[in-house]
Amino acid sequence: MTAFAGLERGSQGPAQPPPDSGKTRGRWTPYFLLLPGMAWLAVFFIVPVVFLVSMSLQTGNIVDGYELTWNFGTYGDAITQYWDQFVRSFIYALIATVAALLIAYPLAYAIAFKAGRFKNLLLVMVIAPFFTSFLIRTLAWQVILQSDGIVVGIMEKLHIISLLQWLQLLPTDQVIFSPFAVITGLTYNFLPFMTLPLYASLERLDPRLLEAGGDLYARPFTSFRKITLPLSMPGVVAGTLLTFIPAAGDYINSHLLGNTSTTMIGQVIDGQFLRVLDYPTASALSVTLMATIVILVAVYVWRAGTEELV
């Protein structure tokens, strides 16, 4: 044994790193590479969150200053006062995520398997709306959904309006400034975030697998359910996360396309911070939102069985 130990290290000095198999070079190199970015994230992401939590437990006001009093009462007050907005944010985000998934899946599927040589062109068309500012496009929805517009006319003809009213998404006849308009905007704005990961996971799928599936299961729907869907799960998980998280915190859509009874939690936080200047309440709401989302995401990722997050 000891004789081998001598051979093993041989003529080199101690602790010579193994000649690389691609993974190991200098022992300190990875830390040097990681340090600046990690430091940036630590200082401008983690530290602010700590400040936020601390702020939520302080009392005082903007004029006299704040003092850390461990006042957990702020949380209770803030949550009870804005419970409706919290619930509404998560419900809207959930509906928008499901809607985006239902729209994006056929889209990604068609681009991956049916587009042929137009594949790249169609992909560009999915990404292209990105380049016109998000706000300008959301304002365009105000034009599209206005009461005497063509779109609303078509919706009336197809009885979509009455269906939406039955679903409680349209309190009145007006389409714009309604829950429906807010959800339409949310779905629209985050659709590319759903489509691209779905496309990426579908595109990697070997078409021969589908042929084999067609061979074994014969019915196209069965082979979709047994092969395509399970193999595209990583894309579904990534897409739903990339849609749900920003949608839950968003307030641009509810501000531009909604009314006072569609207020989402992001709007409340923004108002408390920038207009009411009630920092402890605003911070408590922020912390609650973040904690809720982190818990939801953790449960979801754990249930979906995705290991490596990034």
């Binding site: 889209l107 049916k114 068309m125 973040m290 989302i293």
Partner: protein, 293 residues
């Protein structure tokens, strides 16, 4: 209705499956046609949904509205196109957004690429916390990031403005850069670097001659993503800007209440066209290159 209902399915069946077997595979029957092209129809509708607002933006950039708001079509005009900088503050906000966008892209791309290299080409302790720290900003809503940064800046007394916006933008672009570059690194065959080492290239040479050129498209994609995220960001910016540092999205937001100048549609259209043109040119160049050989 209720009385006739039972008869309907039978009718459907008998029309869908006529006695003699169909000769043509491509049936004229509309139901069959819809069933065969269902995915394509859905995809088409999805594209309409995706591109309708862009069409409206382009169309209304030629509008000559009667009031302060550009919501109703009035008459055709190219006034906005020839007088882009007419509304006060529009062009200066555009310049600020471009400045922040470029600097944030450079910062986030350099830092993020370094992190991606470390994570996919090196072994080190603390991989799990590193992954978590990179993932968390992507799992945090923008209001939370914006408001927490504001709390930090207010607490330690950093004046809001250009630099606070830049800091915030680098922070939220970083994770997206890491993920994009890492994905590209993962698809890179490690044997190429080994082949370089076998052919007398030391680590530095192998990096610059093999690894870097091959990962470059991924880095470019990450930079493009970072730029578009930065250029388009409103929520985080709004928390960390001052009245004297108005970015383009902030300008648009403000105009939504004060009155929307047609010129913002011109800017939106131009951005769309530039992007399409850039993609078109790069596609054409790569097509030409593949043809030439």
């Amino acid at each position: 209705m209720a009385l006739t209902a039972p008869a309907d399915p039978a009718d459907l069946v008998s029309t869908a499956q006529p006695g003699p077997p169909p000769v043509h595979r491509r049936s004229r029957n509309p139901i069959t046609w819809v069933r065969e092209h269902i995915v394509g129809i859905f995809a088409f509708l999805a594209f309409v949904y995706l591109l309708l607002p862009n069409a409206v933006v382009v169309l209304f950039s030629f509008n000559n509205p009667t009031g302060r708001f550009n919501y109703q079509w009035a008459s055709f005009s190219t006034h906005a196109w020839t007088n882009v900088c007419e509304p006060a503050g529009l062009c200066s906000s555009l310049v600020l957004s471009l400045q922040v966008g470029v600097l944030a892209t450079v910062g986030a791309t350099v830092l993020g690429t370094m992190m991606a290299f470390a994570m996919s080409r090196h072994r080190f302790r603390g991989r799990a916390p590193t992954n978590l720290l990179i993932f968390l900003p992507m799992a945090t809503p923008e209001v939370v990031m914006g408001s927490s940064l504001l709390t930090l800046f207010v607490n330690i007394g950093i004046p809001l403005g250009f630099w606070t916006i830049l800091i915030a933008h680098i922070m939220f672009c970083l994770s997206f850069v890491v993920v994009t570059v890492k994905a590209r690194m993962a698809s890179l065959d490690p044997r190429l670097e080994q082949a370089a080492a076998d052919l007398y290239a030391n680590e530095t040479q192998a990096f610059w001659r093999i690894t870097f050129p091959l990962v470059a498209p991924g880095i470019a994609a990450a930079a493009l993503l970072a730029f578009s995220l930065s250029f388009d960001d409103f929520i985080i910016t709004n928390f960390n800007a001052s009245p004297s540092s108005i970015t383009f999205p902030m300008y648009v937001w403000g105009s939504a209440t004060r009155g929307t100048p047609v010129q913002i549609n011109v800017v939106g259209t131009l951005m769309f066209l530039i992007a399409i043109l850039a993609v078109g040119i790069s596609q054409f160049v790569s097509w030409r290159r593949s043809r030439r050989a």
